[in-house]
């Protein structure tokens, strides 16, 4: 172990520092950070395992860095902590940014540790589990995810369904898959041919209405920060107190990460919804208004998803999430072919991977603890300066795609949509989930139809399908019968 520390400490520290900075930058995140490693990949060829340590450190630190951006700036770094914004930012406005960050950090770190260890323990059993999930199960899993978002935590489920369908339609704008030169719903606007980027949609619908209201003076002034260390201790205690919210989030993220093809981006929202629906007697603050459980739940999903996404990547060489495509390519570049029997039999690889994961987690947590006190200072800038500053940062972040007026128009359109949805009390998260999953739903739906349309009862003949189907039905029945445990909208 000491040998590993001596050998890889510089790489670990560089990886953690580099990834953390990318996590903090709006729009960036783990994927962008990994892309930035390509020009330096050849320097790792002398010791390919150093690339394993580097990529792992970047993924973990960038994911935790994302959370800072969500809580303090109300912008998800790389999209991984989007659900954390919903309660994290209101907590920051209340002067409790340190508590939110500490609670989120503890939740993410705890679940990361649990699922990281489970990754090592469950690796031999994973193959059997993943083969139980074919196209019918994938499709039903997506339906289950949509059901949770639309029905479980929100009072207005019909509006939720409408919002989700609207989100799917928006997500399908652009090039028709595999058909060159054929575009869908672009209304003659060339900019839409490549589809709509996620950040302007997320920022416009979820963040901008709150920020604009802040600029216009409709939100309360930012509260003074109470003692930082006390808050951080409180955040850690919150995480322990609401450990089952964290664990539930971890389970959701862990399952989604382990199922190749589902991708990230939905785990934190599902975890948030499941947390919000489990009301407790001691919930003093409503969800959406700065309830610390709304931070703990999704953050539990955030890193556990990253941990289990390594399952399919390492075993089959099949990326479990978009960022894993880049990990796979970087490791292939230095000569480590994930999924190959030779690598699977290589104990050194697994030792370095486990070491890199755990060490990076530890270092990131330590850095984050010290960084919290500086990050929260941002929230103490006077409201008259802070909200316009946030507005500028968000607009800047969302207009990096072409840098032209089209980016501004798209952001403007989604701001208007966000305001209208808020006014109509439509489920904005359902809209976002529909948007994020649109391509996936189309792809899996089409593949399912092509493979199984001659077997209409396939769902009833496969145990996992049957389980998912009944779970979905039970959730709908539960949601329609018990309306008390729901929040108005978000």
């Amino acid at each position: 172990m000491i040998d590993l520390i001596v050998q890889y400490l510089p790489v670990l520290l560089i990886g953690v520092g580099y990834g953390f900075i990318f996590g903090l930058i709006p729009v960036a995140g783990a994927q962008v950070a990994l892309i930035g490693l390509y020009p330096y990949a050849e320097h790792f060829m002398g010791d390919p395992y150093s690339m394993v340590v580097m990529t792992t450190a970047v993924v973990i630190s960038a994911t935790i860095g994302d959370m800072f951006s969500s809580v303090v700036l109300n912008i998800p770094g790389g999209g991984g902590s989007a659900a954390t914004m919903i309660d994290g930012f209101p907590m920051a406005q209340r002067g409790e940014a340190a508590r939110a960050l500490s609670a989120g950090l503890c939740s993410a770190a705890a679940q990361s540790l649990i699922w990281g260890l489970l990754f090592i323990v469950l690796l031999p059993y994973y193959v059997k589990i993943v083969y139980l999930f074919g196209m019918p199960e994938m499709l039903l899993f997506l339906v289950l995810a949509m059901t949770v978002i639309c029905f479980v935590s929100n009072r207005y489920w019909i509006r939720g369904i409408i919002a989700a369908i609207f989100g799917i339609c928006v997500g399908l704008i652009g090039e028709v898959p595999n058909v060159v030169g054929e575009y869908r719903w672009t209304f003659g606007w060339d900019y839409l041919k490549s589809g709509i980027e996620i950040l302007p949609v997320m920022a416009g619908v979820l963040a901008m209405p709150e920020i604009i209201e802040g600029v216009l003076g409709k939100t309360k002034a930012l509260a003074k920060i109470k003692n930082t260390w006390t808050q951080m201790w409180q955040g850690a205690k919150d995480c322990w107190k609401y450990r089952w919210d964290s664990f539930r989030g971890g389970v959701v993220g862990g399952i989604i990460g382990a199922l190749p093809g589902l991708g990230g981006g939905i785990g934190d929202y599902i975890a948030y919804s499941l947390t919000a629906v489990n009301k407790r007697k001691d919930d003093k603050v409503p969800f959406g208004k700065g309830n610390v459980r709304g931070v703990i739940g999704p953050e539990g999903a955030n890193l556990s998803h990253k941990a289990t996404a390594y399952f399919p990547t390492v075993l089959f060489g099949i990326p479990g999430a978009p960022f894993e495509v880049l990990v796979l390519a970087l490791l292939a570049y230095v000569g480590l072919d994930l999924g190959s029997p030779r690598l699977l039999a290589n104990q050194d690889f697994f030792t370095v991977l486990s070491f890199g994961y755990m060490a990076a987690l530890l270092i990131t947590v330590i850095i984050s603890i010290f960084f919290i006190r500086y990050a929260i200072k941002l929230t103490q800038i006077p409201k008259q300066i802070w909200f316009p500053f946030l507005l500028i940062v968000i607009v800047w972040s969302c207009t990096r795609y072409t840098g032209g007026w089209n980016d501004y128009i798209i952001l403007g359109i989604f701001c208007v949509i966000g305001f209208i949805m808020r006014y109509l009390k439509m489920n904005r998260v359902a809209f976002l989930i529909g948007f994020v999953l649109a391509a996936k739903i189309e792809k899996i739906g089409v593949a399912y139809w092509q493979l199984y349309h001659k077997e209409p009862f396939i769902f009833f003949t496969r145990p996992v399908s049957l389980f998912l189907l009944f779970t979905t039905i039970l959730i709908i029945i539960y949601a329609l019968r018990y309306k008390g445990n729901k929040i108005d909208y978000y």
Binding site: Y38, V180, G181, Y333, D337, S340, K443, V446, Q450
Partner: protein, 349 residues
């Protein structure tokens, strides 16, 4: 702590200055990251080139957007090298595109094959489920012949295809591999490095046949030394005679374009770095250590550099007849339900 920080900073600065001191070239790939061939070749080639070789990915439907962007934009930078894929060659015959193979100078290519695999426990003659991806069409045409046997007319092939084939669209490479591993599809096709490094390791995966290699001298398909059972051999073993006829001729045209140009490194015709690229790639191929890596990871396939590539063009030109093009268009529209264009000019020029 200060010493540690100093150490890290020094390490970082040394690396950065080392990188800045070197030349930097970019290979553009028309697909998503995780391209074993390019990653392996770049790594070895960079040593002889004594430069950084970074990869820029420009993915898009049928690999066309990346190649179109090469034609319009990337080729004008002398530091850019394009990796044209087999899918690009297929589209060259059948799609509306903006790039043209005749406009570029070639650094080199590896004359590759395709590996068709199946699930051990499945009988494709009872039904084939195979996933579409860019460049998969020629392999599927070969599977049609293998499963349906010798047929006199195209309509007979179409009838058999409609009865026995499910061509699953829209999946990415990872999903294609996984659906094969799960047994949702029972036949798969892959470039040799991908088959060798990934797909053959999946449970139940079994080699069926390979496309073989186009011989530069004779213009005929010869055995692939890595996977000696060619489609023609497998067909003869199953049906008692070699494949022939219009459908087979059209398949050969598509297969040869797709496989010969499966991995081509091209630059702009007047690129000042062309000779440097060629000589260093030739040196890399000859280098004992690199050659060993190529054989192990990419398979033992012939390389052609520089003007040799133009000889391959001449062979392919002979096969490009109006009849073959018409057959391909008919088949893609009727069977694969794909929108393609008939390009008679390719047979004339």
């Amino acid at each position: 702590m200060k010493r540690l920080m100093l150490m890290i900073m020094t390490y970082f600065l040394v690396n950065v200055s080392f990188s800045l001191a070197k030349d930097k070239f970019t290979t553009i790939a028309p697909q998503n990251p995780n391209q074993p061939w390019l990653e392996v070749v770049n790594r070895e080639w960079a040593k002889k080139l004594d430069a950084e070789l970074v990869i820029k990915y420009h993915p898009g439907a049928k690999d066309i957007p990346g190649a179109n962007a090469w034609e319009k934009e990337y080729q004008h930078d002398p530091k850019n090298i394009m990796l044209l894929h087999g899918g690009n060659a297929e589209s060259y015959l059948l799609d509306e595109i903006e790039y043209d193979y005749r406009n570029y100078a070639y650094v080199g290519l590896q004359n590759l094959s395709q590996v068709v695999g199946k699930k051990k426990d499945s009988d494709p003659e009872k039904g084939v489920k195979i996933a579409y991806s860019s460049g998969s069409n020629p392999s599927v045409m070969s599977v049609v012949m293998m499963v349906c046997g010798p047929k006199a007319t195209l309509d007979e092939y179409l009838k058999c295809y409609n009865e026995k084939f499910t061509y699953v669209t829209g999946l990415n490479n990872a999903e294609i591999a996984l659906s094969f591993a799960r047994g949702e599809t029972n036949v798969t096709r892959n470039p040799p490095p991908k088959w060798n490094l990934e797909i053959s390791q999946l449970p139940g995966a079994e080699f069926w046949y390979s496309h073989g290699i186009l011989d530069l001298k004779t213009g005929k398909i010869v055995k692939d030394p890595n996977y000696p059972v060619t489609f023609e051999d497998a067909f003869e073993k199953r049906w008692g005679k070699r494949p022939s006829g219009d459908f087979y001729d059209a398949y050969l045209l598509l297969r040869n374009h797709r496989d010969v140009f499966q991995r081509v490194l091209a630059v702009k015709k007047d690129n000042p770095n062309l000779s440097k690229f060629r000589t260093t790639l030739q040196a890399t191929i000859k280098d004992a250590e690199s050659s060993k890596v190529f054989k192990e990871k990419l398979g033992d396939y012939p390389w052609h550099t520089g003007d040799e590539v133009m000889n391959l063009f001449a062979i392919l030109k002979k096969q490009t007849t109006e009849k073959n093009l018409q057959t391909l268009v008919w088949w893609h529209e009727k069977a694969f339900k794909q929108k393609v264009v008939y390009k008679p000019q390719l047979a004339k020029n």
